[in-house]
Symmetry: C2
């Protein structure tokens, strides 16, 4: 078990309020008056969640996008963000951060409401946090738990481009600009999440890797899940096993009945990629039958 | 101008939503449905906002307290917090952090709703963030702006003990245990803030020092403020000028009519310490007349 997961398990006794959803979900869902709030806070640390050489504007974009992706997984409409920012040693890099922050907030039509700015000791890796506040969809925010035996596992878009983009950013390979963009400027599936929320039995975003996030959804529902590897959309030229264990794609993963479709033409493609059954654990198949699980199912760094 | 303040000024064009209050207040105040939310996020950085040797449970307490103090300044009732925590290299220090977090959340009856846990590179100073969510008082959350010419400047409790406690924690002096406790386990004035909110014209917490926070309140209201030094309650044995420029006391500072009093006996003492007049700037007096301003009015590290 990762240090993060162990720590979160030890926080659970402090989070008995129903809004905390047992710290098992992408976001908290808090009823207050006639409003249902969806609340999430993710941090990113230099050298851990982003590369020291990543352009500051892209770091800002990603900080916004990963938090809005948690709102998307709850079908929430974003209403604002609070920023916790550690100043750079170079003021022009702060300026570039603000420019990327503005682009992200404009792109997703979310206002900055407040936050905090701090200095860190010179030379230390910096950490930034963002809190996103959203309003839950009218018929309730889907949970990570909730899949039913017989449900189909679906996903939006494709997985793997961000992982390839990370390899490009590290100088380990070359590839098209859209892979690098998938890593540096992910697009949270806000519109899709809002459209899907009334239709699904369970939903989460794919932040740590398709396999690990699918297994967590099955575990949360007390079920087994089987994924048909050939049904998973991946970028042309990508290694399939790398794509399904890479993180940072921020697509939506959801469980629902077999006839589920999104009728609006401007939304991301959805693909049926597997099935929930009674039992437990994750299994993989392709046309030749069962496929062994890879040793690593995804990243563990991103706690829910 | 400090780096933090300059950065916040450059964020202001991104924060035009009225809930952001121009980034000039202790917290955002967001109307949603029939609810008015008060939202704040503060970060603390090892070696900047706390000493590497501070007990982890006290760091947790302080992280909760400083954010709840921002809610107190808006007269808000806390409804929950989100934690952004950077793991220690030593797991037992994480355990101690959780214990202090639990004590603070229990003491102020606030639930943990969610958040994030991250690893930081070994040896790097760590940063933690906390978002506090509250509900505004029925008749509205006071602003930092709002003082009127002729208003009296009031404060709760006394200032200076936390600064003395910091000196004890650094090994620079000795002193009673309550000074160290004032630094390590500050008590946000939640009950007082809720009681005062309907009575005041402006309110803020004293986080960076009495003088700097009083000057900010005057500036926000387009007024001058004069403080009667001998009216400011300070701990017995404290240096007066040090006490009024020390931070971290988390008392409330507010403007209101001359006859303002808190009738409930269990609340902190309130003291009338000065007066707002037309004009601008901060001036100090004692029984012998005008007193020159000290060079440093308080800390600049804590952005609103």
């Amino acid at each position: 078990m990762s240090r993060e997961r162990d720590f979160i398990d030890r926080l659970k006794p402090l989070a008995r309020h129903p809004a905390a959803r047992g710290l098992a979900d992408d976001a908290a869902v808090l009823e207050l008056g006639n409003v249902v709030l969806v609340l999430t806070h993710d941090m990113i640390v230099e050298g851990v969640h982003y590369l020291p050489g990543d352009p500051p504007g892209d770091v800002a974009w990603k900080l916004v996008a990963v938090n809005l992706s948690d709102l998307a997984a709850k079908g929430a409409r974003p209403v604002g963000v609070l920023l916790g920012y550690s100043l750079d040693v170079a003021a022009e890099r702060d300026t570039a951060f603000i420019a990327g922050l503005r682009e992200a907030l404009d792109a997703f039509a979310v206002p900055l409401l407040g936050g905090d700015t701090v200095q860190t000791p010179a030379g230390a890796p910096r950490a930034h946090g963002l809190t996103a506040i959203g309003e839950a969809p009218p018929h309730g925010a889907p949970r990570r738990a909730g899949a039913q035996a017989g449900d189909i596992l679906y996903m939006t878009g494709e997985v793997g481009a961000a992982g390839l983009g990370l390899a490009i950013a590290k100088g380990e390979r070359e590839g098209p600009a859209e892979w690098l963009a998938a890593y540096r400027r992910p697009q949270p599936r806000l519109v899709e999440g809002q459209a899907l929320a009334p239709l699904v039995h369970a939903m989460a975003d794919i932040s740590d890797g398709l396999l690990i996030d699918a297994m967590r959804m099955a575990e949360a529902g007390g079920l087994a899940v089987e994924i048909d590897l050939e049904a998973v959309p991946i970028p042309e030229g990508a290694d399939r096993m790398a794509a399904i264990t890479a993180g940072d794609d921020y697509e939506l993963l959801f469980a629902g009945p077999g006839n589920l479709s999104l009728s609006q033409p401007h939304l991301a493609k959805i693909s049926a990629i597997g099935r929930f059954t009674s039992g437990h654990g994750l299994s993989l198949t392709d046309r030749s039958g069962a496929v062994p699980l890879p040793e690593r199912l995804g990243y563990e760094h991103d706690a829910p």
